[in-house]
Amino acid sequence: MEFAQQLLNALSLGAIYALIALGFTMVYGVLRFINFAHSDVFMIGAVVGSLLGNYLPLGTWWSGLACLLAAMAVCALLGVIIERVAYRPLRAAPRLNVLITAIGVSLFIEYLFQNEHVFGAAPRPIPPVFPSVLWQWHGLSISSNQLIVIGVALLLVVALELIVYRTRIGTAMRAVSLNPRAAQLVGINPDVVVTFTFALGSALAGAGGVLYALNYQSVEPLMGVMPGLKAFVAAVLGGIGSIPGAALGGLLIGGIETFIGGSQFSTYKDAIAFALLILILLFRPTGLLGRRIPEKV
């Protein structure tokens, strides 16, 4: 029974890492850089959810969904703004500059939200917007929150897969990812694709933020740092640029962390998770589901 319980814990944690990892991987796929501000977009999703939650009736499906959708919308918009203001002017600059800018944006958001007049650094509780039920089944405790996290994450990953493989804009995204110059030659506007990618990835992070906050019941400005780092690792582990890879990587990292956390080695759970990452990358440098792209010289 302990194993089943840990598996459920692992799935609900891994599902959130997967949601964040998707944003990292999509931006990398299109622009070939890591958007470090992504973890802070995740945090803002949680903030939006908790602020809106104060004005909604608690414990109903529609107010929960309203929080989720509002957070996704705000984060999508924020992602687009960050790209427009901070990254687009550097599109032609060396990739390192964009990377440093991303770290700058990330720190800016974190410190802005730590200001007492914006949000403040102290953790705040998030109102329970979704109906909250606790089932006990043969010693297994299943909280509705965990099921909601897993369900929503699954739904969003399927939706994303459909968007990327079944729509025109998705085809354009894949084209830009494959060869930006050639995509432009066949009439694809890369700016539109990049904007769309940021909106989509940030919306997923926003949803992840609300779910994470509901699951762990607190919101604070630095809450995105560790999940963001682990999601980034998950994206690399799964093969950065690959959507199923990000989902798989997220579940793996969540699983490793949970099972080691519940063993006698709980002190070293992060150390072991990251050591595994190094090992896997030694044998599969492109990640588990990443494609090998031959370098042309």
Binding site: N9, E116, S218, T258, F259, D270
Partner: protein, 378 residues
């Protein structure tokens, strides 16, 4: 010629020095304070700072110390590792403070202490309970009890008052306070015939404790000792209840913060922790302090960190008075000679290890409120 010059130089230097000594008469005595005013453990810094501020304001209203006003210079370390050391250096070298007050968390006091020690500036920690803090050197003091005592109190409490034989311990590995308190608790609990069924670890800033709690649940213990800070303890309590754990949860003074109940809510019902004082204490000194604090800070009830912040400033001011000067060495001597100083957290007597032996209070959480359970004398 040269010796003449030297004479003049020496004389003028002396003149300058006495001039500056005279100028000191009217200038305020600078006291540095380091607190976590923002960040993860902001509740600690906010409370201890308000207590300290109240003490300084009351002293100044009563004509200050040695006829000079006190000036409190506060630095916020944002609850971040590394910031306290920087802040201590800044306060000592740039602001030229006479003494340092702070920190609540032992890990951060341990950052300040070596700097205070090497600069020979006395430091008084209001609430750091890890024994290592004052072991840093002769310039480091504290006005609270230490963890060997607190661990013993909670082990005896679990064994005798809660009647527990098998317990689990959930320790934060990245906090000196938690590691120390956990060690002293285990030693006493084992020697009292108890059994530690399982020991699990987490790190500061963790949000997910389900994996550790699931492993603890499988052992079927009657109680879980959580020697951590309120920010994690509240989440641990919530997740434990969600996993169907009904065991009693109990911890140390790291739980003391208004946010504990705000975040933990009903999950903390029937939980206990040890701390330094109770605002329910009916002694006139405590009631007077509670009243003044409420008047000054928006009707807030002072918690233990506020009371210790208050006492730390008073003990320091008393030492400066007895030293009759603000020379760091003289102040240090006077601090070390503090005997039977009555504050709001009890009687402070600084022992040879620069610690204070004080009673601990066990608080029970019932009906969403903190209730005085018992007081344990050292």
């Amino acid at each position: 010629m040269i010796s003449r010059f030297r004479q003049i130089a020496v004389l003028s230097l002396l003149a300058l020095q006495s001039a500056s000594l005279l100028a000191n008469e009217g200038t305020p005595i600078k006291i540095g304070e380091i607190a976590s005013l923002t960040g993860k453990e902001a509740a600690f810094g906010q409370s201890s700072h308000k207590g300290t501020l109240l003490a300084i304001e009351e002293l100044n209203a009563a004509d200050g110390v040695l006829g000079r006003q006190l000036k409190l210079i506060t630095e916020d370390n944002q609850t971040k590792a590394g910031e306290s050391a920087t802040a201590a250096r800044k306060l000592i070298s740039r602001d030229k403070v006479v003494a340092l007050l702070g920190e609540v968390a032992s890990s951060r006091s341990l950052e300040m202490a070596p700097i205070a020690q090497s600069s020979k500036i006395p430091m008084v920690s209001p609430a750091s309970t890890n024994p290592k803090v004052t072991a840093v050197g002769a310039y480091v003091f504290r006005v609270c009890f230490i963890d060997p005592f607190q661990g013993t109190v909670m082990a005896k409490f679990a064994r005798e008052d809660l009647g527990l034989r098998r317990v689990a311990v959930l320790t934060s590995v990245s906090s000196a306070y938690s590691v120390g308190l956990s060690k002293f608790f285990k030693e006493r609990f084992l020697s009292d015939g108890g059994e530690i069924a399982i020991e699990q670890k987490y790190s500061e800033g963790d949000k997910d404790f389900r994996s550790q709690l699931t492993a603890i649940k499988a052992t079927g213990v009657g109680g879980i000792f959580i020697p951590g800070y309120y920010s994690e303890a509240a989440l641990i309590a919530k997740q434990a209840r969600e996993l169907g754990i009904t065991a009693a949860l109990f911890g140390g003074d790291g739980w003391e913060a208004p946010q504990l109940l705000q975040i933990g809510g009903a999950a903390l019902e029937g939980c206990y922790y040890s701390t330094h004082y109770s605002p329910e204490d009916t002694s006139p000194a405590v009631q007077n302090f509670v009243k003044n604090y409420k008047d000054r800070f928006n009707d807030e009830v002072p918690d233990a960190m506020a009371a210790l912040g208050y006492d730390s400033a008073l003990v320091l001011a008393d030492a400066i008075k007895r030293a009759g000067s603000t020379q760091p060495d003289a102040v240090r001597e006077a601090l070390a000679a503090t005997r039977n100083f009555m504050g709001v957290t009890g009687n402070t007597t600084i022992d040879a290890d620069r610690n204070a032996a004080k009673p601990a209070v066990v608080v029970a959480i019932k009906y969403g409120k903190l209730n005085f359970f018992k007081s344990v004398a050292p």
